[in-house]
Symmetry: C2
Subunit: 423 residues, 2 copies
């Protein structure tokens, strides 16, 4: 890459990334106790810098209110004493998680006497491109540090003052090598494609955000990407379902927190029980304030102001809202066909008392997480017991589903010999 044609902002991004690469080389050689010390110091430093963080956050909130950002977004943006304390507690939780680095994944000896060990090592430099929530800033930096990776963070412009204050607090930590956590302070969108081409400095890009951000990153990247894309999740209620359980799970998966990727957007109902279950679930959903987009059969079996016809588009839409697409299908095969065509392959669940049907569904549905008689809302690092997560991968390579610490590592083969050569 010739540097003569770069803008000042691009030159700064290159410099930040180069520093991160240097830091990653150092981080990879440190004993893991040193990485844990950094996390201890970060927790303390965030508490010390609380006032500066609140002041910076107040600037973001003021801008957001002036530009008319909606209330939900402003709430996500706000750093309160409680949410800062939660961030600090999060750092301390990651601090005490078992350290994956240096772990021998496998080890064996060959007939010629060479000993091969497959050892967990850091990935290197991870760029994380995300949208507004400032807690992601600290989460991401700390998870990457725990696993010996340097980070280049690129947050949304709405949170820029907060992000700067948070990262300044981190960078004051004496235990942290220079460049280990970098923030791109310029929020010009044109820098995202540029960042995606820094293959000499960055080993992995994780985009977390809306469709257009992820499209841009995938199109521009010259670096491996692990997408944290959308979830069009579903529940299929089989003819042999316990309908009380089905109702409870559908409501939980749709209503408990509709704005997240593991909430369901689609309900599939076996035709043989449609007469009974469609009216039952429509009543329950209506009571919970859910709008229903139904196919022909659903529209015949349930009526109401909140019930309207589904279009083809509805089967692939992530509403992130109190809306549910409902379709009547012909048994397990009908459900499998629907999912092969429309599922985003994130999380899908079957409700049935029949083990044979359930096992066929679990085997044939090609999603990151497949459930039998449980809510899709469990697709989450904490619910899995990972202690922390960097997000939920919708890709199939390297990491699929909730990504914990192990997924932030790579490996290398270490081979010890006594002079062996190949014959």
């Amino acid at each position: 890459m010739t540097t003569s044609t770069l803008t000042a902002a691009e030159t700064e991004v290159r410099a930040l990334c180069a520093e991160a690469r240097n830091a990653s080389r150092l981080l990879a050689t440190l004993p893991t106790a040193r990485l844990d010390e950094m996390l201890d110091e970060i927790a303390v430093q965030l508490e010390k810098e609380a006032l500066a963080i609140f002041a910076a956050n107040a600037k973001d909130i003021a801008v957001a209110e002036k530009t008319g950002l909606n209330k939900v977004m402003i709430d996500r943006l706000r750093i309160t004493e409680k949410s800062l304390a939660a961030m600090v507690a999060g750092v301390r939780q990651v601090r005490v998680l078992p350290q994956p680095l240096g772990q021998k994944i496998t080890e064996w000896e060959r007939p010629n006497g060479i000993k091969i060990s497959k050892i967990r090592v850091p990935i290197g430099v991870i760029a994380i491109i995300f949208e507004s929530r400032p807690n992601v800033t600290i989460d991401a930096a700390v998870l990457c540090l725990k696993t010996g990776n340097a980070t280049v963070l690129r947050g949304g412009k709405e949170a820029i003052h907060s992000n700067r204050a948070l990262i300044e607090a981190l960078q004051k930590c004496k235990s942290l090598p220079k460049g280990a956590v970098q923030l791109i302070g310029d929020t010009d969108r044109a820098l995202v494609p540029f960042l995606c081409r820094q293959s000499d400095f960055i080993d992995l890009i994780i985009p977390r955000g809306g469709h257009s951000l992820i499209e841009t990153v995938v199109a521009e990247a010259r670096i491996p990407v692990i997408k944290h894309a959308h979830g069009v999740c579903s529940v299929f209620v089989h003819t042999q379902a316990d309908l009380a359980m089905a109702e409870k799970i559908v409501l939980n998966a749709k209503v408990q927190r509709p704005g997240v990727c593991n909430a369901i957007e689609t309900l599939l109902i076996d035709r043989t029980i449609a007469n009974k279950f469609v009216p039952q679930i429509a009543a329950a959903l209506t009571k919970a304030g859910v709008e229903i987009r139904g196919d022909e059969t659903v529209l015949k079996l349930a009526k109401g102001d909140n019930i309207r016809a589904a279009s083809e588009e509805d089967w692939i839409t992530e509403y992130l809202d109190l809306i549910l697409a409902v379709r009547v299908v012909d048994g397990l095969d009908g459900a499998l066909d629907h999912l092969a065509n429309y599922s985003s392959h994130h999380s899908d669940s079957i409700i049935t008392e029949d083990a044979t049907t359930a096992e066929r569904y679990l085997n044939e549905v090609d999603s990151a997480t497949v459930y039998w008689n449980a809510s899709t809302r469990f697709t989450d690092g904490a619910e899995f017991g990972f202690g922390a997560e960097i997000g939920i991968s919708t890709d199939k390579l390297h990491a699929r589903g909730p990504m914990g610490l192990d997924e932030l590592t790579s490996y290398k083969f270490v081979i010890r010999g006594t002079g062996q050569v190949r014959v």
Copy 2:
């Protein structure tokens, strides 16, 4: 993607890829015994079709001779009775390898009673873009089939008749689902970027070939890529090396098969032993017909028609030939500096009798495979005991170093509950 603007060749590629996607859905649901039956039939079918394969190969050889392809390339292209028998034997070897599909990688239960299993599954559709050698065609298809993946193969134009005959033999197998192994018969280079954008049909692209092929794939891909790029491998001879062992390993790593990615291109010699080891190794390399590109110190200590000055370019060049860049460095730190700047992070080896130095090297050199007192030539699936390899990944995500069957799989989380919902 709008189809109205596609050329006829592009439309055909889309159709091939769509068939592969359909086949992959079926393959993912089959019992593994069915996959093994396919391999049995392929081995038989390749033997049956031998005459057709030889005839097709003869056409490629005739074209190659007419266009003046060099002798090494023609030899690689040629399918003899022996090399066809080796291909068939390769299929049978893969057939009897342990089946990774369905394996429980881990399994645990959460306090709420849900049971989580992490299960190996196929990746889906794997596109493999490779250059001339026809044995890669069968290897790649069979390794992917063993692991339940459909393949879209794109070979070089030099081997097109051979590849067509090989794939036609495969496609005659009754046990093989339609579309499970697809060959793009059109060798127009413009189709490579087009293939790299078929993200709705392809899950992974593996490019195996020269720099410009890999650059094109990385730049154009909208799909995860695992690169099989070049190896600038090295040996570092430390001050405490057994110099007889060092000589033996350097010669093996350079001379035994210079045209492969795990052969060394760089030799680093500790300054404290340069007076002794430079003349010793220069004499041995000269005798073996190796050209030396040395730094200043090397040029002072060794003379000959085959010894000339190294340029900066030499430290990053993959010669794939009887040429070796030789540099004198200041101890372990000098070697680590050199490798941080110039290694392609494929395979690097230290020769020393000092365990502390060796362990620091093994820890700090960030390469897929790091060696102590052994030849870099062991970076190979067969030498590792994997039974087979699809290639050697120079990436750090998903697969690093030799890729065996496990690396051709993904995983999914299968969760069994009894009605659990999230609170």
